[in-house]
């Protein structure tokens, strides 16, 4: 809808290169350089993955769902496998559950480091961006050494995990975490107090607690606005049942708060990883698979961007009858309408980046 009046004019932004190299088209209604309205047009990277899933069997869909998004590429197959396991009542062995949490938290750390790094890039602080990306390399190396790939871990399969980690791998992980921990503490200090970061991010793109509740935002966007919501604690699954998940909350509701939530969540993830390694149960890493019966099931998990839901319906064959997922980014897009209201044009990419949008997830 075109609401452009005599006082305002429309500015097209996108579809490419708005903070991230993912396509989303924003039609911004401007009054001078102040944003008065925003209209989003999606659909540039729709790949028809839900339809593709119906043409592949339950095993092939593990890999298909891993390709929905690269930054949360472990959360998708993890949640998909959980939906199959819920449907067929498969009891995943404790060691496999613990190994799944290890993979999930490693991916969360990498994802958050990427987002806060890109934030520094958007505000023109490129040396900080380079530094954060270099720290992220620690986790990239961990992923490559433990799982064999820097992004797609291929860690999950129905009924367990595809890999087993030996003491050597855990030692490599703990060594990486020990190197990362002081860097995250230092980064937290910089993101909290550095004058340049504060000047560009504090009180920018504010989403109040009330608005966050009304829009039902999820993940770090909700937690940055003071909402203590986290599926890992609220509806624990897998090995999270026995883990003490620290739900990180910041009250500011601005770009800085969301960045701080992500940085502090990295610290919480480091603690979770150490707890997992300490309490890693022995035993098998795979359950014996039964016939997958006809039926339907859902599974929920806390992806790096928030709550991820999978719905699966089967008809007794090996190919799903329906596979649907609701991604966290989908819930967070609407919040941009509020965050961008009365913002400056130059802050648009910064605010867009602060919800850590995943367009390939949203459109799949």
């Amino acid at each position: 809808m075109n609401r452009t009046t005599e006082k305002t004019y429309a500015l097209p932004i996108g579809p490419v290169h708005v903070a991230l190299e993912e396509p989303m088209y924003y039609k911004i209604e401007l009054d001078g350089e102040i944003v008065r309205g925003v209209e989003l047009t999606a659909g540039h990277v729709h790949r028809g993955m839900e339809a593709l899933a119906l043409r592949r069997n339950l095993f092939q869909n593990i890999v298909l769902t891993e390709r929905v998004c690269s930054l949360c590429s472990n959360s998708h197959p993890y949640t998909y496998c959980m939906s199959v396991e819920n449907l067929a009542d498969i009891a995943v062995p404790p060691r496999a559950q613990c190994l799944r949490v290890v993979a999930e938290e490693i991916k969360r750390i990498s994802s958050h480091l990427f987002n806060v790094g890109v934030m520094a890039h958007v505000i023109g602080y490129n040396s900080l961006f380079m530094h954060m990306m270099q720290q992220r390399e620690i986790m990239q190396d961990v992923k490559e050494t433990l799982y064999g790939n820097r992004m797609n871990l291929s860690a999950n399969c129905i009924g367990g995990v595809t890999h087993d980690l030996e003491a050597e791998a855990f030692a490599f992980l703990l060594d990486g975490l020990a190197r990362l921990e002081p860097e995250v503490a230092r980064a937290l200090d910089i993101y909290r107090t550095d004058r340049m970061v504060v000047a560009r991010t504090r009180s920018v793109g504010v989403l109040s607690r009330e608005d966050a509740l009304a829009l039902a935002v999820v993940g770090p966007v909700a937690r940055g606005s003071g909402l203590a919501t986290d599926i890992r604690r609220d509806a624990p699954y897998g090995a999270y049942v026995g883990l003490d998940v620290d739900v990180v909350v910041e009250q500011g509701g601005d770009v800085q708060s969301r960045a701080l939530v992500r940085l502090r969540e990295i610290q919480a993830s480091i603690d979770l990883l150490r707890a997992c390694v300490r309490a890693m149960p022995a035993g098998p890493t795979l359950a014996v698979l039964p016939e997958i019966p006809a039926g339907q099931a859902i599974a929920r998990s806390e992806a790096p961007r928030g709550e991820l839901i999978y719905y699966l319906r089967t008809d007794g064959s090996q190919t799903p009858n329906r596979l649907k997922w609701r991604v966290p980014s989908y819930m967070n897009w609407d919040a941009l309408g509020i965050m961008l209201r009365n913002a400056k044009v130059s802050d648009i990419p910064l605010i867009v980046n602060s919800i850590d949008p995943c367009i390939s997830c949203t459109e799949r």
Binding site: I62, L64, R67, L128, Y147, G148, T193
Partner: protein, 179 residues
Amino acid sequence: MIVFGFLKVLLGNVAKGPATEPFPLGPATTPARFRGKVHMDPALCVGCAICRHVCVGNAIHISERADGSGYDWVLWHNTCALCGLCQHYCPTGAISMSNDWHNAHLQAEKDEWCESRFVPYLVCERCGAHIRPLPTSVAGRLYADNHVDVARILRLCPQCRQIETALHEGVRHDDQRVA
């Protein structure tokens, strides 16, 4: 002081020197678990086709030769997603992921850029039928509790194998009865 905190970080990074690996002038570290190009060992393949079943990109093709001499197992690298599910589900460990990440090749070579293996059928010693080879490791597992001549069994088709085993078992039972 403006950006003083970060200045220290920056100076530390300068002191550390380049963070990137000097490839191609120096070696690039590749971890042992790295999932590179798929490799298949025809000596271990039993032709169960679970790899083809779980392959999301349909990169694996298995086709029997017209003369019945065996089957071709072909994986097209350009369609392979390097997910490793074929390796994970392979019951005999015939499929492995190499450390080879050198994937550049000429456009003209793309069709031949495959892992292509021929798995020959054996001929049954008793009846002459074509049979799928059974790797010694798998046979050892299958016949662990049977006192049969595994080497001989492997050269027989399933039907002749049943007969051979039954004859052998029968003799053994007769022996026990006599004792």
